[in-house]
Amino acid sequence: MTTIDSPPPPTLRADSLQAIGVEDMGVRYDLRFTKKTTIRRSVGQILGRGSQEPFWALRHVSLRVVHGESLAVIGPNGAGKSTLLQVLAGIIRPSEGAVDVRGHVSGLLTLGAGFDRELSGRDNILLGGAFLGLEDEVTRRLLPSIIEYAELGDFIDAPIKTYSSGMRARLGFAIATSVDPDILLLDEVLATGDANFRAKSKARVIEIVRAAKAVVLVTHDMSWVTEYSNRAVLIEKGRLIMEGDPAEVVALHRQHTDEARAASAAAATAAGLDPGIAGQGRR
């Protein structure tokens, strides 16, 4: 009852059905301009001191998502999963390769990120809609249903700073899911709120997943991957390691995780015996 139908047969994979195409895409971070650069530091770096290698958050990534598909992106922390979603959402431009996204994209990235704490919930809904690029009439039409869904009651006209974190998460979720996107990008959104709201939000996400033409989901919840996705990719250190059936990809990911855990356990044991060796052994 819950799953999306099995992957469309290869014959249906004509170009008109393609929702997302990624070709040999790479994202490079220039570590010269990281957070809180000061002019002094940059001048020093431009003059040659402390030059740093560019860092590839993603490289040589190619994938294709057709209409009706739900793709799960899994991998360890820092592998580049969220960067991939940011590229698909158009937030980050690829440094090499090309990305082709067809349709209205909506991302339920970290919820409630853009809230203005001084403004009321209602003002934040209008502002959030404007940031998402919704027409004003659309936002105003959606307003009652968003307020009702978020279960905020009279708090809707109070500043966001008076909200509990659960209220904030509910409002963020309600705004983000009020849009009917063609392509839905989800980044670990299923773990917010209390058990009650989690069940409610999961139902809503399933509803949107069914309505959307394509879904790309980043998650650490492996049961979701095997249950609701019809394809999965494993990303490690910015490279696409495996693409295919969710169960197989999850199995490989589990295997790699266990290996990594064993390696770090071994390193920890070595550290107990000889700190010098452990320092070299650990990555």
């Binding site: 220039d30 002019i39 940059s42 082709d100 996204v101 404007a130 063609d182």
Partner: protein, 294 residues
């Protein structure tokens, strides 16, 4: 359902390198298509300024008056210069200057302070400095209330030339916008640009004919010895703006208000439009890296 105003198909190629003309066109389209967002941001800005303070938006009225008081005391008692109707003389400069500094300081952090949002949603970042600069206009409009009050004390200087104030403000707006857009983009990469801007602004104020008239410079020895300084002083955008505001609000110490120097205003407007085009191109070129650097 078609709810978003963006183009549904987005093709992004790393090799794509748009030219200056296209970037300016895109920048214009960004603002026009998101004018509602700019409006909401301006409203939010106004609402927040009013919140959490006892006097609320009344500070917009009080602030320039108190600033004027400080300078009147400083100049008439410490420096003991005698200029007739001096409070009005400097108020004509304080008001536009306060607008400029508020806009520039706010715009500097406009992009950097929205880091969380920028990493979550794709939207034209150009709306951020445009909104803060436009919010400054509202503050300037509030400042016209104490100006009107002050004019009542100097009723003999009230003239129809006061109606030209908005026209001069348009020139200032274009210049401020260009300056703000450039700083907003630069501050993403250099976070100490805000500190630099604050000090440069303070120096700029004292080098501009705000507390004194441009003519006073002729009496200064350094300027007499180096005529080039006079040329530089005349080219200062705020020399042109202050002199223009003062001409229509105050006039001259011994003569009533009159028409401003249209030629220098027109030149400043032209230069500002060019400056605006330049900073839009710089901003649009840097925009793709914002999400990575923040």
């Amino acid at each position: 359902m078609s709810v978003t105003s963006e183009v549904p198909a987005a093709f992004r190629n790393a090799a794509d390198d748009p030219g200056a003309a296209r970037l300016i066109r895109e920048g214009l389209a960004d603002i026009v298509s998101r004018r509602r967002l700019v409006r909401y941001l301006v409203q939010a800005d106004m609402r927040k300024r009013g919140a959490d303070t006892i006097l609320g938006n009344f500070w917009w009225v009080l602030d320039p008056l108190l600033q004027m008081l400080v300078y009147v005391i400083f100049v008439t008692i410490v420096v003991s210069r005698k200029t007739p109707d001096y409070p009005l003389f400097i108020f004509a400069a304080i008001l536009p200057w306060k607008w400029f500094t508020t806009s520039v300081v706010d715009a500097t952090s406009a992009v950097a302070s929205q880091d969380r949002l920028i990493k979550q949603i794709q939207f034209p970042k150009l709306v951020l400095p445009v909104a803060t600069t436009t919010a400054g206009v509202v503050g300037f409009a509030f400042g016209l209330i104490p100006l009107a009050g002050l004019m009542l004390f100097y009723a003999d200087r009230i003239s129809p030339f006061l109606l030209l104030v908005p026209l001069i403000a348009v020139v200032q707006y274009v210049f401020t916008l260009a300056f703000s857009i450039l700083l907003a983009a630069g501050n993403v990469f250099f976070r100490d640009l805000g500190n630099v801007a604050r000090h440069v602004l303070r120096l700029w104020w004292f080098l501009s004919p705000g507390l004194y008239s441009l003519a006073v410079l002729d009496e200064v020895h350094v300027v007499q010895a180096n005529p080039i300084l006079k040329v530089i002083a005349n080219a200062n955008p705020f020399a042109i703006l202050f002199e223009a505001y003062r001409k229509v609000i105050y006039g001259a110490p011994t003569s009533p208000p009159g028409l401003p120097d249209w030629t220098s205003l027109a030149v400043l407007l032209l230069v500002s439009v060019g400056f605006l085009a330049l900073s839009t191109v710089v901003f649009k070129r840097l925009e793709p890296s914002f999400a990575k650097v923040l």
